[in-house]
């Protein structure tokens, strides 16, 4: 068992964690067919990016990363709002949120 008192968490760990989270999000968007899950995966990707910004910002002792995160959060919220509104409208008509059913355009 490692000695927890000497375990240090530094920038590399944060960057690795956020890279892992980001690619979990990417695989969610690519492989899942449920529109809501895809949305959640995109949110996960954005959260991973925010973690990168905050870790770097902390490391540099600089405030620009914090500012970026605040804007990114606001944008993500707006995007989710618009997305869910469109999705509700599609669900009313189609009764499904499986993106494989969204095939009308391809015909």
């Amino acid at each position: 068992m490692p000695d927890l008192t000497t375990l240090h968490v530094h920038l590399g760990h944060y960057l690795t964690l956020s890279a892992i989270l980001f690619f979990i999000g990417v695989s969610g968007v690519v492989f899942r067919r449920n529109a809501i899950i895809m949305f959640m995966s995109i949110e996960l990707m954005l959260t991973a990016v925010n973690l990168t910004f905050l870790a770097v910002s902390r490391q540099l002792g600089d405030h620009q990363g914090h500012v970026f995160v605040l804007f990114a959060l606001a944008v993500a919220a707006a995007e989710a709002g618009v997305g869910l509104a469109i999705l509700v409208e599609i669900f009313k008509r189609r009764g499904s949120i499986d993106v494989d059913d969204f095939r009308k355009l391809m015909e």
């Binding site: 960057l15 995109i42 990707m45 490391q59 970026f68 944008v75 995007e79 469109i86 599609i90």
Partner: protein, 485 residues
């Protein structure tokens, strides 16, 4: 915000104010039709255009977040023209609905604000904010026709892929922030010049993700999959707005970002962009050949044009007199005009239910509407790059810069591509003039859309005959861009 900051970004503020004014007009002065909303939008856009045109003040606003100079002024004018034409196309298109879709007007204004912010942004934060302001407005615009499932699906598809690509863009920005220590582009450029980044993993990953994110927006192959479906499903005026405005805004931001990083990027980056440019224009043109639906054909043609513009990005180098950047600016303005013209044709002939616009529907159009057909001929010749239209000069400027920069093979491939593209553009013209009209072919004529088409065609011919003034404006823009670093 100080007064000088506000006066530097006056065009952006006026368009923003216009968007709010249109919302208020609809809330407190509801009338039948959409004429009053068009009028309010046009007034504010015109004021913004006047401010953009006589912007002698240049400088950096909001602690280096935005730059006001000839570069942003050139793009501000481009976006205002695009917005005005879009309003002309949309005001009658959406007025026909049982319930007029009044949301169209403020959303076009806010999307225009986003584009203007993107072109003026000198900080990654403002690029991202501009991009999202533009994109979120466009997601709603694409899904505006709630009675049409096609439109809803187009909006949703655009949103999912747009948000996905924004996340990549944002991750790229975060990694670049990590490796250069700033989000401010000129500061980043200084940091990049000072230190070698050859072995910096964060730096290269950052550029890779940034390219993926921007590649989605400009419809670069292999990130183009959304384009045909979204253009096809969106209402015609919105699709034209997307094609013209988003492309110009994204390339403006791309130019600035590429100039920031170019000293450290080196040959590998250029080689990669060459591959992307070749694949993008070739795939776009070859697939466009096979399309029988005009909207899808124009979508693939938009992809091909992104490839031509990437040729300019390959050849660009940060300098006051860079011919490639001048070519890109000129091309973007001209592309916006001719593409809006082509989408005006779709607006004219498509039914309001978002049905597909088959090429055969134009058969014999010249018999019924000779003036409209003449305009469409100008748009198609210009898209194909045949003199004496403006599209010819756009291609000349960009490809010539590529040759001067030593990319002769790339320029030859681009020329061969233009020759292939001629076939599908001219097919539309042949159909209009050489065939008998079909019974159910389009017969009505919307005066507002017709007028917009005439204005666009005259502008394209005028720029084609006298490309000097526009090229001079583009040159001033490039030297201002070089000055902002």
């Amino acid at each position: 915000m100080t007064w000088s900051d506000a006066s530097l970004i006056a065009p952006i503020l006026w368009v923003t104010l216009g968007g709010v004014a249109v919302l208020m007009t609809d809330a407190f002065w509801r009338r039948a039709g959409t004429g009053h909303l068009t009028a309010v939008s046009v007034v504010f856009l015109t004021i913004a255009a006047i401010y953009a045109a006589r912007s002698d003040a240049s400088g950096s606003a909001f602690a280096g977040a935005l730059a006001a100079d000839s570069f942003s002024a050139f793009f501000n004018l481009t976006f205002i023209v695009v917005a005005l034409i879009t309003l002309a196309l949309g005001s009658s298109y959406f007025a026909d609905e049982e319930q007029p879709l009044v949301e169209f007007f403020p959303l076009v204004m806010f999307a225009t604000v986003g584009m203007m912010v993107m072109a003026a942004a000198t900080d990654m934060i403002t690029i991202f904010l501009g991009l999202e302001t533009m994109s979120i407005s466009l997601y709603v615009l694409a899904a505006l026709q709630r009675r049409s499932i096609l439109s809803m699906e187009a909006g949703f598809k655009y949103l999912i892929l747009g948000a996905f690509s924004s996340a990549f863009l944002l991750y790229g920005m975060a990694l670049l922030y990590g490796s250069t220590g700033s989000t401010h582009l000129p500061t980043m450029a200084t940091a990049i010049q000072g230190v070698g980044f050859d072995r910096d993993l964060l730096f290269w990953m950052g550029w890779g993700f940034l390219l993926v994110g921007l590649g989605f927006k400009i419809a670069m192959v292999p990130f183009h999959m959304w384009t045909p479906d979204v253009y096809d499903g969106s209402p015609a005026p919105v699709a034209g707005f997307m094609a013209a405005g988003v492309k110009a805004a994204s390339f403006a931001a791309m130019l600035r970002v590429v100039w920031t990083g170019l000293p450290a990027l080196g040959d590998m980056w250029i080689d990669m962009l060459v591959v992307f440019a070749v694949v993008t224009m070739t795939a776009g043109n070859l697939i466009a050949l096979a399309q029988s639906n005009l909207k899808r054909m124009l979508a693939y043609s938009a992809i091909a044009h992104a490839g031509y513009l990437l040729v300019g990005i390959v050849a660009t180098t940060p300098s006051m007199t860079d011919p490639a950047a001048r070519g890109i600016l000129f091309y973007l303005m001209v592309y916006a005009l001719m593409n809006l013209g082509a989408f005006a044709l779709i607006t004219l002939v498509s039914s309001r239910e978002g049905e597909k616009v088959d090429l055969a529907g134009f058969a014999g159009l010249a018999r019924r509407h000779p003036v409209i057909s003449a305009c469409v001929t100008v748009f198609m010749l210009s898209l194909a790059g045949i003199p004496p239209t403006a599209g010819f000069w756009g291609k000349v400027y960009v490809f010539e810069a590529a040759v001067r920069d030593g990319h002769t093979v790339l320029a030859v491939i681009a020329l061969l591509n233009s020759a292939v593209a001629m076939f599908y553009y001219l097919r539309v013209v042949v159909l209009m003039y050489m065939r008998e009209p079909e019974d159910e072919a389009y017969t009505g004529l919307d005066p507002q859309v017709g007028a917009a088409m005439v204005v666009l065609a005259v502008a394209l011919l005028w720029i084609g005959l006298f490309p000097g003034p526009m090229a001079e404006l583009a040159r001033q823009g490039v030297s201002a861009l070089a000055g902002s670093f």
